[in-house]
């Protein structure tokens, strides 16, 4: 299991670094601007109030634009509202490709002919996915924490870390869903496509659901609806976190069951029939 863990993590290192640095860079670009905005709050407020509510909805709570001028509100509107989408792309690629990529390239057939159980292989790789997700969040947090030291925001690195915990939960649930779909669908690209649509729909519907009550019922089914963002700076919403973790873990469990019971594909194989369990 340790060999699978190390091998998978080693292969993911480029992705981890790329997306982690991407999140960090976003924070490093946004955080220094708070000082500028804080100096001219009146102008900032006028600008925010000129925005249509449909636009503001994508940045969080639209009922109180004055909150945007606080450090917490600023981080939420300009940084944490977008991070799940950015890091979510890593989650989709890493989750859908965790096993299906090797399988479709014909490598899994040979790996599985070695003395390793399917469960050990699966668990080793899922642990690497979890570690990789944490690493992306850690690199993102580290970049932001460094810049935060020189900013006028009165937020400590420890507090900031709290706000990254809901980001990790979002990454986990998208990665887990992508993994499950990659086990059910005949090709990794289908899993990537479906979860990609879900990620975008989740962001859009959850944002617009704040304006349109008719959408809120659908939006409540989306992972983004349970995302805390910068609100986590003043305390984590454990209910949402554990709920997302439970759904993510359920997806992983179903993916394991499917992987343990189905044929390993080789290059060129795969059909929609793979959904049906064996009659044996």
């Amino acid at each position: 299991m340790l060999t699978h863990f190390r091998y998978t993590l080693r292969r993911m290192r480029g992705q981890i670094l790329g997306w982690g640095v991407g999140v960090a860079l976003l924070g490093m670009l946004i955080i220094p601007f708070y000082g500028v905005f804080a100096e001219d709050q009146a102008q900032l407020m006028a600008m925010l109030e000129s925005y249509p509510p449909e636009f503001l909805a994508f940045f969080g709570d639209v009922t109180d634009t004055s909150a945007m001028t606080t450090p917490r509100g600023f981080l939420q509107y300009y940084f944490f509202s977008m991070v799940p989408v950015l890091a979510g792309i890593f989650a989709l690629a890493a989750g859908s490709g965790l096993l299906a990529k090797d399988e479709e390239h014909g490598r899994l057939d040979l790996i599985m002919a070695h003395p390793v159980s399917r469960t050990a292989l699966f668990v080793g790789r899922v642990l690497a996915l979890a570690a990789g997700s944490m690493a992306v969040v850690f690199v993102g947090w580290l970049g932001c924490a460094i810049v935060l030291q020189g900013s006028s925001m009165d937020i400590g690195a420890g507090e900031l870390a709290m706000a990254f915990v809901p980001v990790l939960a979002q990454i986990w649930i998208y990665a887990a869903m992508a993994l499950l779909l990659s086990m059910l669908m005949p090709a990794q690209r289908f899993a990537l496509m479906v979860t990609g649509v879900l990620l975008a729909a989740s962001y859009i519907l959850s944002s617009l659901g704040k304006l349109n009550p008719n959408l809120s019922a659908v939006a409540d089914l989306m992972p983004y609806a349970y995302y805390q963002g910068a609100a986590a700076l003043s305390g984590l919403d454990w209910g949402s976190l554990l709920g997302l973790l439970a759904v993510g873990n359920l997806c992983v469990l179903l993916a394991w069951w499917r992987f343990a019971h189905r044929d390993i594909r080789v290059v060129g194989e795969g059909s929609w029939r793979l959904w049906f369990p064996s009659r044996r």
């Binding site: 490598r107 057939d109 599985m112 003395p115």
Partner: protein
């Protein structure tokens, strides 16, 4: 009897949708022998191997590998087996050495690295080069090395010489013989009759998912199929040639140009041909598919 068998398959079936890849396969491979698994493309060779290794699950029937059920004891079976897939795909981002060290780690580090280096030298393979820069033949060498480096009790090789040049094919076949000499059982599939004849103790012939015959390699030579294209100086009557046992007319462009098929020993045909005014003679060994058609016809099994 069962403990003398390295592989035992009974009534194995496997379908991919409407395609029936295996249709009740029965197969026995004795411990310590080299068993050539011969069949044309699409006959079910790779499906059989993948069922034996539990990478795919048969729809019916049973299999035992080294006395173990591969479905229940897959890890134990794999620990004692070396496998080379028919279509080898390695991690392009690794070097040959990195790939082999990874496979060795999956086996708990059982292989001796000195032996790996010795094998690489035999194959004239640079292990430091990235997989992505290796030719197909060199990748195949990495595949062969990973299959034998831990001295397995059972070697399952799917088209082991595929992609290798003739010299390296001989090295691979020598490794197969060495493995057998060291007590291993070798089960290898091929669609190249001469290769199977060269190393196998017994040959199983599979067609349309059913084992149609188990034979000694020598007997394959007796029914070897040749195709001869003959051009004569002048129009001739073919009666003398066609009366030779095993000779069949395939096509005749005119009275001076014919194509014939000869099953078995060529000598009687060559002797009969000596009486003709031959201008040109070309012979070729046809594909295994053609051999199968000659041996078993078009009948559904």
């Amino acid at each position: 009897m069962a403990e003398q068998l390295a592989l035992s398959v009974r009534g194995m079936t496997k379908s991919y949708g409407k395609v029936r890849a295996l249709r009740g396969l029965d197969l026995d491979v004795r411990r310590g022998e080299i068993y050539g698994f011969l069949g044309p493309n699409g006959a079910g060779k790779t499906t059989t191997i993948r069922c034996l290794l539990d990478t795919i699950r048969p729809d019916g029937g049973s299999a035992h590998v080294l006395g173990l059920d591969p479905r229940r004891d897959a890890v134990a079976v794999h620990a004692r087996t070396g496998y080379l897939p028919g279509e080898l795909h390695l991690d392009d981002n690794m070097s040959g050495e990195g790939q082999l060290r990874y496979f060795n780690a999956l086996r708990g580090g059982r292989a001796s690295w000195a032996y790996v280096r010795q094998l690489a030298e035999q194959f004239d393979l640079d292990l430091k080069r990235p997989i992505k820069n290796l030719s197909r033949g060199n990748k195949q060498k990495v595949g062969v090395i990973q299959a034998v480096m831990h001295h397995p009790e059972l070697l399952i090789l799917d088209e082991p010489t595929s992609g290798l040049d003739p010299l390296m094919q001989q090295v691979a076949l020598r490794l197969i013989r060495e493995a057998r000499a060291g007590g291993a059982t070798v089960f290898f599939s091929s669609h190249i009759m001469s290769e199977v004849e060269a190393v196998a103790d017994r040959v199983g012939i599979i067609r349309d998912g059913v084992l149609v015959e188990v034979a000694a390699p020598d007997s394959l030579g007796a029914r070897a199929l040749h195709r001869a294209t003959v051009r004569f100086h002048e129009p001739v009557s073919l009666e003398g040639l066609l009366s030779v046992a095993g000779v069949r007319l395939v096509s005749q462009d005119d009275d001076t140009h014919v194509t014939l098929e000869i099953v078995g020993d060529m000598s009687p045909f060559v002797r009969a041909l000596a009486a003709y005014p031959v201008r040109d003679l070309q012979t070729a060994r046809p594909s295994l598919e053609d051999v199968f058609l000659a041996a078993y016809g078009h009948t559904q099994i």
